[in-house]
Amino acid sequence: MELRYFIIRRLLLLIPTLFGLILLIFFLLRMFPDTYLVARYINPKSSVPVSVQIEQAKAALGLNYPIFIQYFFYIKALFTGSWGTMSTSIYTGPVLSGIELYFPATLQLAIFATILSIIIAIPLGTYIGARPNSIADQTGRVFSLTFYAMPIFLLALLLQLVFGKNVIVGNPLGVLPIAGKFSFNAIGAIPPPWFNASTGLTSPTHLPLLDALIHGDWALAYSSFIYLILPVVTLTLSLLAGILRFIRAGMVDSANQEYVKTARSKGVPESLVIKRHIRKNALIPTITVLGLLFASLLGGVVVVEEVFGYYGMGMLSLSAITNVAIYGVLGTTFVFGITLMAANLIVDIAYAFIDPRIRY
């Protein structure tokens, strides 16, 4: 079957998964007692009796309908953008606009880390996997095992300790800032109109680096680039370690296959054998685990945002949890789920591109 049909089929398969995800979020919402959801609509000082107020709030929230009808109401609410409101220490207002403000930072960290680790992992994994048990291979294995096993918060703190500015006095490596998105010195005394001083966010994309480039503010662009290094390096190292493990295993595995022997015996140059016959087949199992690795990367983003004070959706979610903002928690969980679904979609399509057998 053509690739086109495969992609269409895969896109259609997204629909049941999406409704399953909404069902999970809805389940989380409805597991809270009704009183919990109704409480915010009750005004004890009002002249209307509280019992009447409770009934009114229940009717407004649709809590009197059967549960499956409520599910459809919830789907409608999600698709029409009424995701509820939240009030936390870092953001107060509608959940959807909060996510719009903070999601770009999360996505930026995840995408930078993914691209960087793929760019590094493929040539490095090829080099290492083609020389099993050499010194390079042993070093690579120690590296990938250590960073794969290291909790991401430990890695982040370690990098802060080694490369953080003013963390250890007299450390020649300590040149990078450890917290925030950019230096406020780069903004200047009179902030530009596209900078919102109260939220500390820039418009239109809410990514300081991109916005500064769009508006041609080189000082801010440089500053936000410097602040981006440590968070991205942390995520990259942990993702890279995972990918490297699988590429190396795949390379060693496919190097023993019969078709590699055939290729060698018919006189294909060694570099081509490695590139076309071994590496191409080693990438297939790697891509299958890429979805899982991306899931743990998204978890890592939350931790990295917390450690480096890089405010994104992870911080929004954490603040919603500590401030008991139900709709904030559910909204961010939903968006994290959507992100992972999109990532899995891309992984599957990449899989079909690389492996010509996957056409059904």
Partner: protein, 305 residues
């Protein structure tokens, strides 16, 4: 005199163990894991070995002094060997509190992984063997669990259940069975098509008998590998939950909790409150990964010699 023959299954296990010991890295991993188990058990058998009678709260170790925590040195006896940390204006010796934390870290991650693996394997084996709509429902349910990143899902469930330690355990239990269910289902589908299951069915074995005496024993070896790899992952997740401050128990002996409090000293250039408990986590996760990789090589019938 006839040589006493051992049970073939026992012979198989000892062969597996011999192969595992031959692999140097796996041996190192196994030894360190066993040391961690001993440390955890020591606290149960002889609770006073850390110098305090109760290790369920870090408060028992607290020393009320208001100086900057000192680093690792030999001049403060056994307790001060790895330096001190400070939390909420009390000082804590890092070596004993890390050792006390190992018990909880190991105990809870073992509990979560074992229960999760038990439930997941059973559900997956039944669904894979029975097929039909049970299988379809299971697959859709696991799809939903896999559509949200683990940490985020754990956070959401902890938010739902309440921000206590035991709720964190339940939350991790809820999210950690689908991975085993999928693994067991795939394996059960494969075993279902084997001739010996067909023979058993033909000679009148019920599906319960088939599942318990044919499917489950053959599912176990990949499950064991997954368990050993997941122990490290769960320990990390558990530490992360404490590190993020989602669990509201400031004096619970947990390595992530200790690091969370210790990171306040990072700005002052003190490395030991973070690095020392970090090494305790890292050593465990590395060794359990080495053990898991070794187990996979040994249990894989293709690589087994």
């Amino acid at each position: 005199m006839p040589v006493k023959k051992r049970h073939p299954k026992l012979e198989d296990y000892s062969h597996t163990l011999r192969l595992l010991v031959k692999n140097k890295l796996a041996l190192v991993g196994m030894v360190i894991t066993i040391i961690y188990f001993i440390i955890a058990m020591l606290d149960v058998v002889y609770p006073r070995y850390l110098g305090v009678s109760s290790t369920n709260s870090l408060l028992a170790f607290g020393i009320p002094v208001s100086v900057t925590p000192v680093g690792p040195s030999f001049s403060h006896g056994f307790a001060g060997l790895l330096g001190y940390t400070e939390m909420y204006s009390l000082q804590f010796p890092l070596l004993p509190i890390s050792l006390a934390a190992i018990k909880f870290d190991m105990g809870y991650s073992l509990f979560i992984v074992m229960i999760g693996a038990g439930i997941g394997t059973l559900v997956g084996a039944i669904a894979g063997f029975k097929g039909g709509y049970i299988d379809e429902i299971l697959m859709r349910v696991t799809d939903v669990f896999f559509s949200v990143p683990f940490l985020i899902l754990a956070l959401a469930f902890i938010f739902l259940l309440g921000r206590y330690i035991i709720m964190a355990v339940y939350a991790l239990l809820i999210i950690w069975w689908p991975i085993y269910a999928r693994l067991a289902r795939g394996q059960a589908l494969y075993i279902k098509s084997m001739k010996f299951v067909e023979a058993a069915t033909a000679s009148g074995a019920s599906s319960a008998r088939n599942i318990f005496s044919h499917v489950l024993p053959n599912v176990l070896s990949p499950i064991f590998v997954q368990i050993s790899l997941d122990l490290g992952t769960i320990m990390q997740l558990f530490a992360v939950l404490f590190f993020l401050g989602v669990i509201s128990d400031p004096y619970f002996p947990e390595l992530g909790n200790i690091i969370n409090q210790g990171q306040n000293w990072l700005g002052a250039g003190l490395w030991w409150p973070v690095i020392i408990p970090g090494i305790f986590i890292l050593l465990f996760t590395i060794s359990i990964n080495l053990l898991g990789d070794g187990l996979r090589d040994v249990l894989d019938p293709k690589l087994r010699r």
